[in-house]
Amino acid sequence: MRNAIKSTTIADRVLLALLVISSLTGMFYSRDALSKGEDVLVEINGKLTYTLPLSQDREITVNASHGQATIEIKDGRVKMKQAECGNHICMKQGWIKSGSIVCLPNGIVITIGNGRKKDLDAVTG
């Protein structure tokens, strides 16, 4: 290891530093790029099935490929509370305030975004 470090040139070290900086910056940006919004959008097998306000606490149970799945919205966050799938990766993800929860076996995608009017900043009328 020591030899490996010794054998590097300054250029190598600069390159390494640049890579570290760019990956850290990337992390910062990617966290920022997660979808945000005021609604919870539930897609089942590619079809948008529910658009629910993130501000209203509730539990909904949906029928999916492997039986029923329960989604909970509370305090402006959402989680997959219960799902009939093998590995329960979706449940292990816990509460999210932005981004998505995907339950691949059930074909469920829960995204935090802004419903149908997502490209609108306001409505007149």
């Binding site: 300054i10 920022d32 149908r116 490209d119 900043d121 306001a122 409505v123 007149t124 009328g125």
Partner: protein, 338 residues
């Protein structure tokens, strides 16, 4: 340093650009509050959360303060004092109330009375919540009190006087648009250069969104049948305001006839030449002042007035046909109908 100057330079640029990009990145901040008997929603773009929230709070306070001055239903408002003293004496008012009334009278004059703030006396006869309409006689009796020419504005002495006893001025047809203008002025004073003020359907956009795009505002479909066709069209706005008058906002149906809240000041009855009018202009005072006027006039006379005033609009007439002025054609996208 001297051996690898180029590498050090690249590294320096990478670090500083990463810091500067993250430091100056603007986000949007939004607050919603019930004010002026409606929902006020403000979005601003700023690189600093604290200053954005402080600026929104002071704009909301400004709207609240102004709303209290011109509240038709509160005994404590300056507007109520003007109404109480109709036919008696001129009432001294604050600069904002004065300016609003000057704008209201101007809109009344330019529209030949299609918008008239003194229609308040007739508005009070209609009870849309309880589906009660006044009799012909009641309307006939009070209609002579509707006349904007009897609003005597004395700017030198900051007074307003309603000439005849019994007159009632209702500024609800213009106040929300004007309040949006006040909010935008407040943001400019507080160093916020981009945002969107929505006082119900009276909306004023200033500057651009953080991603450099214009603000996107939906125009409600006046004949919505499901939640899938709520929006008739979208319009992109920068430094412009939009207000909508629609026959679907407050109405009741009696013996198969729809009675809605946009009254023709000349007849005292609802106007039926349009079903929705959205006016676009530089200020909310203009859009809110003229949306009802154009609605009452209908597409033919309304488009003429808009041209004279240099304003733009989307009009849906009584037959459901849509009329758009040239100035906003490129900014509008109509929703596809299934």
């Amino acid at each position: 340093m001297t051996r690898y100057p180029l590498l050090y330079l690249i590294m320096l640029i990478a670090v500083t650009s990463a810091i500067s990009c993250t430091g100056n990145k603007a986000s949007t901040y939004k607050k919603t509050r019930p004010l002026m008997d409606t929902i006020v929603s403000i979005t601003v773009a700023s690189a600093d959360k604290d200053s954005a929230e402080k600026a929104i709070d002071s704009a909301l306070s400004e709207i609240e303060r102004f709303g209290n001055l011109i509240d038709f239903y509160s005994d404590k408002s300056e507007l109520s004092e003007i109404n109480r003293n109709a036919g008696l004496r001129p009432v001294r008012v604050s600069p904002e109330t004065m300016d609003l009334i000057v704008n209201a009278v101007a809109a009344a004059e330019r529209s030949g009375g299609a918008f008239d703030p003194t229609v308040g006396v007739i508005v009070r006869l209609w009870d849309f919540a309880n589906r009660k309409m006044p009799s012909d006689d009641e309307i006939k009796l009070l209609l002579p009190l509707v006349n904007y020419r009897d609003i005597i504005v004395d700017r030198d002495n900051s007074t307003v006087f309603l000439k005849r006893k019994g007159m009632l001025m209702d500024l609800g047809g213009i106040a929300k648009g004007y309040a949006a203008d006040l909010a935008v002025e407040s943001f400019r004073r507080n160093g916020i250069s981009s945002g969107l003020v929505a006082i119900a359907g009276d909306i004023r956009a200033f500057g651009l969104k953080p991603d450099g795009s214009e603000w996107n505002v939906g125009i409600k479909n006046p004949r919505q049948t499901s939640d899938k066709d709520e929006i008739m069209a979208k319009i992109r706005l920068k430094d412009r305001a939009i207000s909508t008058a629609g026959d679907y906002e407050r109405f009741f149906i009696l013996s198969g006839k729809k009675y809605h809240h946009i009254l023709d000041p000349k007849t005292g009855y609802p106007a039926y030449k349009s079903i929705s009018v959205s006016v676009v202009a530089d200020t909310g005072a203009l859009t809110d002042g003229f949306d009802n006027a154009v609605f009452v006039l209908g597409p033919e006379k309304g488009l003429k007035l808009l041209k004279e005033m240099g304003l733009d609009a989307v009009i849906t007439d009584a037959n459901g046909a849509t009329h758009v002025t040239d100035g906003i054609r490129e900014k509008l996208t109509f929703e596809k109908r299934d």
